[in-house]
Structures are given as C-alpha cells and as structure tokens.
C-alpha cells in the first residue's frame, strides 16, 4: 500500500495532531450551565443512581472518543489517498479500438456484435482504476477518437454510446497507427503501467498492412484482443452492377453475385427491383463458401434505380443483414448536344445517327468562324472535322486531323501509313474497339503536352491523344478518317460515342455505384464551391468540393443525393441533384466468422486482464464511506443518548 496524496510523515503528523486535539477536547470538561433548583436534596437520589452507572458512563465517553478517533483516522487516510502498490500511482493508459465495420452488425450475439462490444468496453470502464486513463476510438473506414484520453467514466460511457455501426470495412492499420501515436511517450518502466491497445472486434480486420508497410506494435505497448461474435452463417450480395447498352441506352443488363460465406448450406430468395418494382425473384441454394454469379441481360422498364435483396428462407439463418441489400442507379438518359463543324462527312454523320440520345447540329467551318459562339456555349461536345478553330471552344471537343495554331496539340510531321501500334486499352474511349488492324493512308504526328494522354500511337508517333485545356476535355485524332478504313469498322461509331460519353460522364461500362469505406469523388458542375449531401437516412451535411468533385468518405449503403452549392451557399445546379448509390459489396467483410486470435506483425494479441468490475481502485472512496458510516453511528448514538 502506498500513499498518493500525502507522504507518510505528513499523514502521521496530521493524524497525530488531530487525534491529540480531539483527545484534549474530550479531556477538557465543557463549562456547564448553572441551574438553580429549590431543593437540591431531591437530586441526590437521582445522582446516586447516576453514580452507580459511572463506570458505564466512562465507557460511553471512551466509546465516543474512539468513534471520533476512528473518524479522524479514516478521513486522514482518505486525504492520504492510499493505493495498492501493485496499481502504481501513475495508472494505465488505454486506447480501446472498437470495430464498427459492417461485420459488427451481425446479430449472432446479443442484439448485435457492436452492442456486445459496447457492453464489453463498458465493463472495462467499470474496472478502471482512479489513475487509469482511457481513450475510446471507433474503428471503421477511418478511425475516430470519440473523446479525449480520460479517466472520467461518465465521459467514457458517452463516448461508447456514440459508437455507430457502418457499412464499411475497418481500416485496421490506420487504427493501429493512430493508437500507437496516441500512446507514444506514455510508456513506463514498470510493466504494470504499460500503455495498452485493446481491440474489441470480431477479428475480421485483415492484415495490418497499408501503403507504409506492415504495422509494428512496440514492445512497450500491451496489445490485447477482446473477441466478439460466435457464428459464421451469412449469405451476402458481393457484386452488383448495371450498365446500359452503348448502342441502345433504353435497355440495360445487370450482373450480381451472391456469396455464402458460412460453413452451412443456405437457401435464400433473391429479389431484383427496378424503380421499387419487383423485376425478378429467384430462390437459390448455396453451398458453403459458394459464389453464385447471376446475369440479367436485356432488361428494360426501370428508369433510375435498381435494388437487389436476399432473404433467408425458412430453416436457414443469416446473421448479417447489412450485406443483404445492394443498390444501383442507371446512367441518366440525358440528350447530349453535339455541334459538328464539318464541310461534310457522311461517315461522321452516319456514326452519330446511331445514338438516338444525341442532339446533333451540323455547321460548316465558315459559319462556325462567323457566328458559332452562342451555339458552342450550349453544346456538350463540339466535333471539328478537319477544321481547326483559331481559338478552342468553351466546350469539350473532338478534333479530327487538327492543324494550325488553334489545335490543342501541335501537329508534327506527316506520317505515311501509320497504324495503332500502341493502344491504351484501359482508356474508356477505346473500350470495345479493335483498332489494331485499322489501315490509315496518311496522317500527322501529334505532339502531346504535359498532362495529355496518348491513347493510340503508331511506331512514328502519337495519333490519338486525350487531354484537357481550360477545364474542357478534348480528343485529338491525327488523321482524317476518310483516309482510312476506320469508318468501315464498328470501332468508328464506338470510338465516337465512347468519346462523347467520356465527355459527358455517361459511361457505358458496368456501374456498381460507390463502395462504402472509400473516398467518393462525385463530379459536380464546374464552379461549385461546396455541396450538400443527403444520406440515405435523410441527414444532410455540407461536404467540400475539390477540383470539380465533391469529396466524401462514405460509410453507409444506399441512395445519396448531392446538390452543388456556390461559394455563397446557394443552389448551384438548376436541375435535379445528382443521385448515386453506395454499396458494401465486400466478400471479405461478408465473411463474419469471428477470429479467435489476432496477430499483428507476428505478435499475437493477449487477453484482457486487470479490469474487474465493481471495485474501483481509489481506496479513499471507501475510507470516506466508512467515515460516513462512523458519523452515522455517532449521530445515532448521540440522539439515542447512548454516548451521552
């Protein structure tokens, strides 16, 4: 036992002085009041009776003195703040990382794993010592400390209550690095006071490795793991994508994947909804660990939203409902305005006719030079077919065989029979195209500027470049299509339509929306200063806009609405807000089997110890309570005239 409040010498001095004072006060007789009586002889018998019990009276007075001395001793020791030597006066420092990832929504224990984890953390709080300090952090796609390092149990309880489940995967490495940074410098030589990282989780955290490498936990930090969860039964949607057909945007196809991550065979019912209307209903039987892809081609009817849901059939059980619902939005069918500056090109006009959602305007180069300004302003895309303007338009543009000073890229030397020898096949404008055997009679070498991307190039030099000038995208093709057999190929209209879609962000690839747990960069109209995001639960929050995109770390699945605002906070978009979907779609997160142990950098997490509920380590509290009890006894004995 050690004294944290006073030294032994101070405590002995205080106790000695106080005890001496009380004893002296007991020895000193109080000045009695004098009372006249008419006949004192009557008191003699009474006094004789009192004298008979004088021994008892003395004992009572001694009892009263002992009570007072006990009271002083208790208070003195309470001031001294005695503690068990094993607990040390400095106390422990803990960072408790509470897993709030999607798998913690599993209902195999209690109401949910997260609530069970909260209960475990509250037990730790109840077992904290007076000098112990603790920080509670929520571990999901980010790591969020929910309060300062504190020993205030009510404050810590509030922090635990603030933990909310997410539909995202936990960023375990980041959480560990945060905990390490928090505990840095708080270590002590005594092993009992080692700072401690406590991970309360189901253990489905993946490897503690990030871009900086593997996380290493220092040896002077205690690393413990408090597992939560028992079951592994779960069937979830792990893929969900939709795309419009490039050449028939009124139709679309859906691809999804259902995975049984549990150890038992599961029967589920898969429902597909289009605009909240049931499109398809299928019963599936999945073997343990089976991934079952489903493909729904040539669908129509839905204009905007698609949802997939799975429901466990009777007799089966699904412990994680978070991955039973997936969301997707079809690309909007906006009619893009295309201004074609051409002296006349049948192949070009014919290719543009293939997309019924294009509003094409043809104009001659002369008319464009004379009065094309207003027309360009409302166009989404301007196609310059062999005619290069003196100044670039304030719109996205496709340049076919550009030349002259107005070209976004300089034209180099003439190329004879160039070909697409090198193709960046990942670029969206060349998707689904076969350009490798295109024959070209002649062309010009294009000179890209820094930031431009060469999508196609011959041995002699680039012939297909994409880039951006003054905030507008462009595609430059270094040859006249009529000097090639490209217009005779399917690749020609695809290249054109891909380029237009590239400009208008209407990708014809599979769209699965945003994934929870990632940083979303949602395009907003140029000039927007900030944006207001309305989450699936109806909560609106302002988010920043960076380089034309609203940036947000989303952690919940569902449909979101984004409204761009100008710098004054007014609605910047005149049209409808941008709607997009977000999904979990994470097979690893759907695998909810709790890990029995947790290993980080080869170091196995220990088990939690030293936090017994119901016994705070501040002895002074109990001393104070004892003093109150003694006071109550003294009060009772006084009023019962026992010690009088």
């Amino acid at each position: 036992m050690i004294l944290a409040g006073l030294s032994v010498a101070q405590l002995v001095g205080i106790l000695g002085a106080a005890s001496a004072l009380v004893t002296v006060l007991y020895l000193l007789k109080l000045r009695r009041r004098t009372v006249a009586v008419p006949f004192s002889k009557l008191w003699e018998k009474v006094l004789r009776d009192k004298q008979a019990s004088s021994l008892l009276s003395r004992l009572k007075r001694i009892l009263s003195l002992l009570l007072q001395l006990a009271l002083i001793t208790l208070l003195g020791f309470a001031i001294g703040d005695p503690r068990a030597a094993a607990t040390l006066s400095k106390g422990r420092h803990l960072v408790v990382l509470v897993d709030a990832s999607a798998s913690m929504q599993a209902t195999d224990v209690g109401p949910s794993r997260l609530l069970a984890a909260k209960d475990e953390v509250k037990k730790i709080i109840r077992g904290l010592g007076g000098a112990d300090r603790m920080l509670v952090a929520q571990m999901d796609a980010a790591v969020t400390p929910l309060g300062p390092m504190s020993s205030d149990t009510s404050e810590l309880d509030r922090a635990v209550d603030a933990i909310k489940a997410t539909d995202a995967r936990a960023d375990f490495p980041r959480a560990l690095r945060f905990a390490m940074d928090t505990l840095r410098g708080l270590g002590a030589l005594d092993s009992l006071a080692k700072p401690e990282i406590v991970v309360v989780s189901d253990g489905r955290l993946g490897d503690a490795v990030d871009a900086s490498g593997s996380v290493h936990i220092d040896n002077d930090v205690t690393f413990t793991y408090l597992p939560v969860g028992t079951s592994a039964r779960n069937v979830g949607i792990t893929e969900f994508s939709v795309r419009r057909y490039p050449l028939d945007k009124s139709r679309y196809e859906v691809m999804l994947e259902v995975t049984n991550t549990g150890p038992e065979e599961q029967d589920v019912e898969l429902s597909l909804y289009g605009d909240a209307t049931l499109v398809d209903l299928t019963k599936l039987r999945l073997k343990p660990g089976e991934k079952l892809p489903r493909f729904y081609p040539n669908l129509s009817g839905a204009r905007r939203s698609l949802e997939a849901k799975i429901q466990p059939l009777e007799g089966t059980r699904d412990d994680l409902p978070a991955d039973n619902h997936a969301y997707a939005l079809l690309p909007s069918l906006r009619r893009a305005k295309v201004l074609v500056v051409t002296p006349g090109n049948t192949y070009l006009e014919a290719a543009l006719l293939l997309d019924e959602y294009l509003d094409v305007t043809l104009i001659s180069p002369k008319d464009y030079a004379d009065n094309a300004g207003p027309a360009v302003g409302s166009s989404d895309v301007v196609i310059f077919d062999g005619a290069t303007p003196l100044s670039p338009p304030r719109a996205n543009a496709i340049y076919i065989d550009p030349r002259g000073p107005g070209s976004p890229v300089q034209s180099g030397g003439e190329l004879k029979t160039p070909g697409f020898d090198k193709i960046d096949r990942k670029h969206p404008i060349v998707r689904w195209t076969a350009l490798g055997d295109v024959n070209i009679a002649r062309g010009h070498k294009l000179v890209p500027e820094p930031g431009d991307k060469v999508v196609g190039a011959s041995e002699q030099g680039p012939i297909l470049i994409v880039g951006q000038r003054s905030g507008f995208k462009f595609v430059a093709m270094g040859f006249d299509v009529r000097d090639s057999d490209l217009p005779l190929r399917v690749a020609w209209p695809l290249l054109l339509l891909n380029s237009i879609n590239y400009f208008t962000d209407e990708d014809a690839q599979y769209i699965s929306g945003y994934l929870t747990g990632e940083v979303w960069r949602v395009p907003v109209s140029p000039g927007a200063g900030q944006a207001v995001l309305k989450s699936p639960d109806g909560v609106e929050l302002a988010i920043p806009v960076h380089e034309g995109r609203a940036v947000y770390l989303g952690q919940h699945a569902g449909f979101y609405e984004l409204t761009a605002m100008d710098s004054r906070g007014r609605n910047h978009d005149t049209g409808q807000p941008v709607v997009f979907a977000a999904n979990l779609l994470d097979a690893e997160e759907s695998a909810i089997e709790p890990a029995k142990e947790l290993v980080v950098g080869g170091r196995k997490a220990g088990t939690l110890a030293g936090f017994s509920i119901g016994m705070r380590r501040e002895v002074w509290i109990y001393l104070l309570l004892a003093a109150l009890v003694v006071t109550a006894i003294e009060w009772a004995t006084y009023h019962r005239r026992i010690t009088v």
Partner: protein, 312 residues
C-alpha cells in the same frame, strides 16, 4: 423560569423574592374572604363563641385527667375517692374553656420564592383567608414568618376588623434565608407559651428534615396543621444536558447530565418525597393538606374546612 440560569460564571443570580405587594389582597380576594367567612359560620351554626376547648388543665367543669399531688396544690382539687381506694393523692384536672389561639407560621425561605414566588404568594393568600375566618370566629390570631429562625411576627389579635393588619403583615414578607423548621419552631415555642392551633404553610424543603420542625410542635402540645405548598413545576425542571444544579438556599452544587431518563427519575423522587410527607402526617395524626399553587386558594380553603381540624 424554574431553571434560573446564572448570567456569568461565578456570578449567582440573586435569590428570588416575592413581589406580591399591592395586588395580593385585592377587592376580589376580599370578596372571596367574606364568602368563606359565611361558609364557616354555617359550619359553626348553633355553637357558642369560644366554646372550643384547649387541652390545658384548669378551672373548667369537664374532667380531663389526674396527676400526682404536688406541694402547693389546692386541696379542693384532690380526688378523695381515689385516695380512699388506692391510698394515693391525685389531683383532678379539668379542661379549661378558653378562646382558641391560632398561629399561622409562614415559611419565607428562598425556596418559597422560587419560580417568581408563586408558592409564597399562594401561602400568603391561604393564610390571609384562614386568618379572616379565625378572626371572624373571634379566635386569637397571630402570624409568624420563619426561615431557620423566627423572622417576623404579628402579635395576637382578634376580630375581623383586624384583617387589614394581617394583610399589611403578609404583604411585607419576602422570601430569603434558609429553611430550618426545627430551629424556627423551637424559637417559636419559646416565644409563645399559649398552646393552640398552628397552621404551618411551607413547601417543607428542609434539608434537615421536615419531621423535626413538626415534632417540636407536637412535643410541645401544639396542634399543628400542615399546609404543604407545592408547585408542579418543581417536579418538572426544564433543563437538559450537562449542568450544575445548585440549591437556591444552601448553594450546594452538583454536576448532573440531565437526560429524559434523569428527569423521569427526578419526577419519581419528587413524588416519593410528597408521599413521605403525607405518610408522616397521617401516621402522626397531623392534619395535612397539599396545596398546589395551580388550585384556586378559595377552593383550597374549602378543602381545609372539609379536612377538619381547623374549624371544630
């Protein structure tokens, strides 16, 4: 207040004194005296004045007793019949008829002045009332105040016109001094040779024993009539805690821690004391009346009449 508290340490409060002058015998009191006198007349209806007899042997006609002849005795009083039968010379004694002497002895010690002098005031009124009755019956009335000695006395008088003299005497009495009934009664007996009825009005707070004073009267052939003046407040002192009680007469001090149980024991001791007095008087055939100050004095006087011994 019963528990007159000292104002400062070592400074004892002055002894309580009667301050009953002026309003003690007001018109209302005197009207009640007249009523009491009429009541006493009714009790005496058909009797002669001064027919009450003393035990004094003398020249009366009713035989009282014999005694041995002594030289100098009148031969005419010898009982010759006894001489013939027993050969002894005995003298006949006769009860002498004379008017009764009534002495009112008022205890004026400090204890009688306790609690604003309620007991002394009450004793004065009772004695005044009984004096009036006695004067009205043509008895010889005398008043004496005592402590541990005879303090003051009003000479014997008769006739109810003298009642105002009684009033003046009583009004000037004040409570002071210590009680010693034995010494006081001895002095009284020495000063008053004429036997008679002695009405003793006292609280009987005599540290030497109340019996001694009464016994002096009994042994000297007086007829004592005890009016024990009591105050219920004496049995219930309003005091709690650690105190020093001191006797207002003797100054004796005692440390007491007064609790509820102590007060209970004190009340019991007080009752025992009263019972002891009553038992003593009844055993000695001494007429005894307990006069609580809360009882109206005229009611007490009537109780005295009913008790007998005062009016014969």
């Amino acid at each position: 207040m019963l528990d007159a508290v000292r104002g400062a340490l070592g400074k004892r409060p002055s002894a309580p004194k009667s301050t009953s002058k002026g309003d003690l015998f007001d018109d209302e009191f005197q009207r009640k005296l007249a009523t009491l006198a009429l009541v006493s007349k009714r009790v005496f209806a058909g009797r002669m004045r001064a027919e009450r007899r003393t035990k004094k042997s003398g020249s009366g006609v009713e035989f009282a007793d014999h005694r041995d002849y002594q030289s100098g005795d009148d031969f005419r009083t010898l009982d010759w019949n006894i001489y013939q039968r027993f050969d002894r010379l005995l003298v006949r004694l006769y009860e002498e008829e004379e008017d009764l002497a009534i002495y009112f002895v008022i205890d004026t010690s400090r204890s009688m002045g306790f609690a604003a002098g309620r007991k002394l005031k009450y004793a004065k009124r009772v004695c005044a009332a009984l004096s009036y009755v006695g004067l009205a019956n043509l008895d010889r009335v005398s008043l004496v105040s005592t402590t541990d000695r005879v303090m003051d006395r009003m000479p014997t008088t008769r006739g109810k016109a003298r009642i105002f003299r009684v009033f003046r005497f009583l009004e000037q009495l004040e409570a002071e001094g210590r009680t010693n009934l034995e010494d006081a009664m001895k002095a009284f007996v020495a000063q008053n040779k004429r036997r008679g009825l002695i009405v003793l009005a006292s609280d009987l707070y005599d540290p030497h024993g109340f019996q001694r004073g009464i016994n002096v009267l009994r042994y000297n052939k007086y007829d004592p009539f005890v009016i024990h003046v009591t105050d219920a407040e004496d049995a219930k002192p309003k005091v709690l805690g650690d105190v020093i009680v001191y006797d207002c007469e003797t100054g004796d001090e005692r440390e007491v821690t007064v609790t509820a149980s102590v007060l209970d024991r004190f009340a019991r001791a007080y009752r025992d004391y009263l019972a002891e007095i009553e038992h003593y008087c009844s055993s000695k055939q001494v007429p005894y009346i307990q006069a609580d100050v809360s009882v109206p004095f005229d009611e007490l006087v009537l109780r005295v009449f009913r008790r007998g011994g005062f009016l014969r």
